[in-house]
């Protein structure tokens, strides 16, 4: 029996609006608790919610960018459950009339495109933060500290259909969604700050089964590593259970980061009754055609289109994908360097390989201000016109990342320009042959490997300034002649 996993992902993205979803409190990024509060976001008696137009604009933008149908007559619902960090003990959310329905997101794995169907895109308000003493679980905590700074911060929730079949696909989906939210400028997209949090619904069923297996939900992951490992662990656990004939219980499980296992959080989640009903404090929200058109004008070039554009420069799908998920300055630098050099591979390799590699190694986060966009093009051109060697180019790059100078100045100062004059090189070759007659003899009697030794001698004597390609070519000609 071959078992196939089916995964659906619910992602919460924290929107980067200035103010909260239903009050005018600032959204703050601080560890100091309870500094951005008002009667509405801590649920004082008599306080009322008023929707944040910007947040609805952001959610509409995300729904449009994933090709969702926009529900023009959307509605806010109350989702009722008791929890100490949920001030009203209901969360304002959306139920049967979300902002967006039935969308799709293109993802890339290596050189292949894939499409993840989106079920819905809807608005939600965030809860406060609880810190439970002891075990970290509310059931056994003797005290709980509450911070309501986050309470009421706007969230958008994106729910996929159960169409994901591996952790690899899940990770690619989250990477795509993260980049989309950054490019739409609706979120910082910082996983380490919890800007994106995801729950995965996982089930396993025989490959030929038309029905899905019993689903298990893993809650509240916020790193790609957790997502990947939790899914892999859960697929394995469920597969083994089925193979051993153990029944899988519908439940919510928790991913233990340290032990790298999932464990039961609460069972029978499926029977939780949130008693959704339309929030009488928030009359129906009409998204007019004018509003939708206005939002459409804010649409940037989406990652999918960026990839297509990058591929027209000659990059592969995976290269384009990597670039589309890079920081904005890297994307811009690529376009500039490619425009100047018309060499996509060199531009791509120099930027994503050498430049980023050296910056990482030297702990440089942003390019120094003297670092002119043209420098990389200059370096690439110098290599292509054989004026410097690849090794010299790396040395030049290191220098211009740390010192205010230019590539040609470095080449000059460090004497890195190559000797490309064949007569001069031939002269040097003759000299080397004279000094190493024994080696020449051995080459002639079949020890081909020793050609490298002669080239090495040549480079040494010329302080590496000789074009190594030319040197080898001329040397061989001389030896044959």
């Amino acid at each position: 029996m071959f078992l196939k996993p089916t995964i659906g992902i619910e992602t919460h993205i924290e929107l980067n609006t200035n103010t909260k979803m239903f009050c005018r409190c600032a959204v703050v990024d601080t560890d100091e608790p309870n500094i951005s509060l008002c009667p509405t976001c801590i649920g004082l008696p008599g306080a009322l919610p008023v929707p944040n137009k910007k947040a609805i604009e952001f959610i509409t933008l995300l729904a449009l960018s994933t090709g969702c149908e926009i529900t023009s007559k959307g509605m806010f619902h109350r989702k009722n459950y008791f929890y100490p960090d949920l001030p009203k003990n209901y969360q304002i959310s959306q139920f049967d009339l979300p902002v967006g329905l039935n969308g799709e997101l293109e993802i890339v794995i290596d050189e292949n495109k894939d499409y993840i169907q989106i079920e819905r895109v809807h608005m939600e308000e965030d809860t406060g933060k609880s810190s439970h003493s002891g075990s970290g679980r509310i059931e056994s905590a003797t005290s709980t500290a509450l911070d309501f700074n986050r309470s009421g911060v706007p969230l958008v929730e994106i729910v996929t259909k159960p169409v994901i079949s591996s952790s690899k696909q899940a990770v690619a989906y989250i990477e795509e969604l993260r980049q989309l939210s950054i490019d739409l400028n609706i979120s910082e997209g910082r996983l380490e700050k919890g800007n994106l949090r995801f729950d995965a619904n996982i089930s396993v069923a025989p490959e030929d089964s038309t029905e899905l297996g019993t689903k298990v939900e893993i809650k509240n992951m916020n790193s790609l590593r957790s997502l990947e490992r939790a899914i892999d662990f859960e697929i394995q656990r469920q597969t083994k259970a089925l193979e051993d004939g153990v029944e899988i219980v519908q439940e919510t499980r928790h991913w233990d980061e340290n032990k790298e296992v999932t464990s039961t959080m609460r069972s029978k989640e499926g029977s939780a009754d949130y008693r959704y009903f339309s929030d009488p404090d928030l009359p129906n929200m009409f998204l007019s055609n004018e509003f939708i058109k206005e939002v459409e004008t804010l649409m940037p070039l989406l990652p999918k289109a960026q990839r297509e554009e990058l591929m027209t420069t000659g990059l592969s799908l995976s290269q384009s994908n990597i670039l589309s998920k890079s920081d904005d300055w890297i994307k811009k630098l690529y376009v500039k360097v490619f425009d100047q050099t018309k060499d996509s591979v060199a531009s791509y390799n120099w930027i994503t390989g050498e430049l980023q590699g050296q910056m990482r190694k030297a702990n440089i986060e942003v390019l120094p201000e003297w670092f002119n966009d043209d420098y990389l093009s200059e370096i690439i051109e110098l290599i292509k016109s054989n004026k410097i060697s690849f090794t010299s180019a790396k040395i030049i790059l290191t220098e211009i990342l740390t010192t205010e100078t230019t590539p040609s100045k470095v080449a000059e100062q460090k004497n890195l320009f190559q000797e490309n004059d064949s007569e001069k090189i031939s002269e040097m070759i003759n000299q080397i042959i004279k000094e190493n007659q024994d080696i020449v003899d051995r080459i002639k009697s079949g020890e081909d490997k020793l050609v490298g030794f002669l080239v090495g001698q040549l480079m040494k004597q010329s302080n590496g300034s000789v074009n190594p390609g030319m040197a080898k070519e001329l040397l061989l000609k001389e030896l044959e002649g």
Partner: protein
């Protein structure tokens, strides 16, 4: 002449002519309170000390001829479910017995701008749930006409206070008749404005889609003055509307409809007689009067007792002991919340929370809450149709005169029936007013209710004033001045 018996306009005229000082009136009102509070218990808190300074400021404005507001120096009582900054808002619940509001309701801000004086906070049925002000955690309120009888509810404290002249006027809130019914029981004018014309921000919510703040006064003109001061669109209440008043005729070109279903079984002869009396007067003045049938009105109580409890079950979820109000300890957070709610809420509140929770539960929503929403919509449509034929609808305000304290406390259903005539206006969002018209054989006040289409509040008040003038009800409870 006793100034506390006068209308707001008459008092203002005396202030302006410097024949009476606001501080003198303020003292007089507190003298009345001293005479009546022990017997009636209209106020939960009296503000006297704190407001003496403000009364003196009013004195100064009038003596300098600088006053610009009809409400300047007018002592008004506030129902204790409306927040006044730095004062307790208890909602007559043990749950909030120690709760002080850090902010003003919008209506309070508006009254403060008019330099109104507050006499204090008045008693109510806990969280405005009840029709007799017997469901208060702090003791019941008596009817100023006869202390064996209830003042009505839930704004019974406000009505009793105006009746006993311990305030010149009062604010109440009306979810199913909580302004009009006590006004009728106490021989006063009670006005529930069109839903959305008065901001609910700062009114502790019972049923958000039905709640509306309004005045309880001695005269229609007093209600008009207060309505014009407290109404207006509020950016802090998403359900508030721009108060664009419709002008419909109030003179004898208007057509009056008598609601057949509210003149049938279950309505006392005395109550019907008051309507007939008014109808005769209107006919004699040349108004066209006809009988109108709105069959769905018979479902009002059923619809109301699904929608209001459903909304209240979520609205009152925030009272959990976590952030404010009563906290009864427990071993875990959940136990603490359960203990708090078990001890903090009275029986009627619990009954309605349970009813509402049930009506919203999975499997029951469609059958109960969903059906109620549907029926409510039909009722709104029926009223809209009716108002194509008639300008005003007339009915008794209550099926009977005030009942005796304790008479209906053991029979909630019978208690609910006392709101039969008033509930439709809340379900349909209509403006509705109760005008005192006569006394029963037990010497207790009776009133008639007039309703009109949404946003015709001003015309409704004009028309009501005509009835008021014709009826010449000058009854006043004895023994408190």
């Amino acid at each position: 002449m006793d100034a506390s018996n006068l209308s707001i306009r008459e008092i203002n005229s005396l202030f302006t002519k410097k024949e009476l000082k606001p501080s003198e009136l303020y003292s007089k009102v507190f003298e009345n309170a001293a005479n009546s509070e022990a017997a009636l218990h209209a106020h939960l808190t009296l503000f006297e000390e704190e407001n003496l300074k403000k009364a003196a400021e009013s004195d100064k404005r009038f003596s300098n001829g600088e006053s610009t507001s009809l409400l300047d120096g007018i002592p008004i009582a506030i129902k204790d479910n409306i927040n006044i900054k730095n004062y307790k808002t208890t909602c007559s619940s043990k749950m909030l017995s120690n709760y002080t509001s850090p902010y003003d309701a919008t209506v309070i801000e508006k009254l403060k701008e008019q330099n109104t004086l507050f006499t204090g906070k008045t008693n109510l049925d806990e969280f405005a749930m009840g029709s007799s002000t017997e469901n208060s955690a702090f003791g019941l309120t008596k009817n100023p006409w006869n202390t064996d009888y209830v003042p009505g509810g839930s704004s019974g404290g406000s009505a009793a206070s105006v009746g006993a002249r311990s305030s010149i006027a009062a604010l109440g809130s009306d979810t199913g008749g909580s302004i009009r019914q006590p006004a009728s029981f106490c021989g006063l004018v009670g006005f529930k404005p069109t839903y959305g014309t008065v901001s609910r921000f700062g009114l502790v919510a019972f049923a958000s889609s039905l709640d509306q703040i309004g005045p309880i006064t001695k005269t229609v003109d007093d209600s008009r003055i207060i309505f014009s001061s407290i109404s207006g669109e509020d950016s802090r209440d998403a359900t508030s509307v721009i108060n664009n008043q419709l002008d419909i005729p109030s003179d004898n070109t208007a057509t009056i409809g008598v609601i057949k279903e509210l003149m049938e079984d279950g309505i006392s002869d005395e109550a019907k007689n008051e309507v007939n009396k008014v109808v005769e007067i209107l006919k004699s003045k040349g108004y066209k009067v006809k009988e109108i049938s709105i069959p769905i009105i018979k479902l009002s109580i059923s619809i109301y007792y699904l929608i209001a409890p459903a909304e209240c079950s979520a609205n009152l979820a925030r009272f959990d002991g976590v952030r404010y109000g009563l906290r009864v300890d427990g071993n875990t957070s959940y136990e603490m919340m359960e203990n708090t709610r078990a001890e903090g809420f009275g029986a009627e509140v619990k009954r309605r929370i349970l009813l509402g929770t049930y009506a919203l539960s999975a499997g029951y929503y469609d059958e109960y809450y969903g059906k109620a929403l549907q029926a409510r919509k039909e009722m709104i449509d029926e009223f809209a149709k009716t108002f194509k034929d008639v300008d005003y609808l007339i009915s008794p305000t209550t099926p009977t005169q005030a009942f005796k304290s304790g008479e209906k406390t053991s029979n909630p259903l019978e208690m609910y029936m006392s709101d039969l005539c008033t509930i439709p206006a809340n379900l349909a969002g209509l403006p509705a007013i109760s005008i005192p018209t006569g006394l029963s054989k037990d010497e207790l006040p009776l009133g008639v209710q007039v309703m009109s289409k949404p946003l015709s509040d001003n015309s409704l008040l004009d028309f009501s004033e005509i009835i008021e003038n014709e009826v010449q009800f000058d009854g006043q409870p004895k023994g408190w001045l």
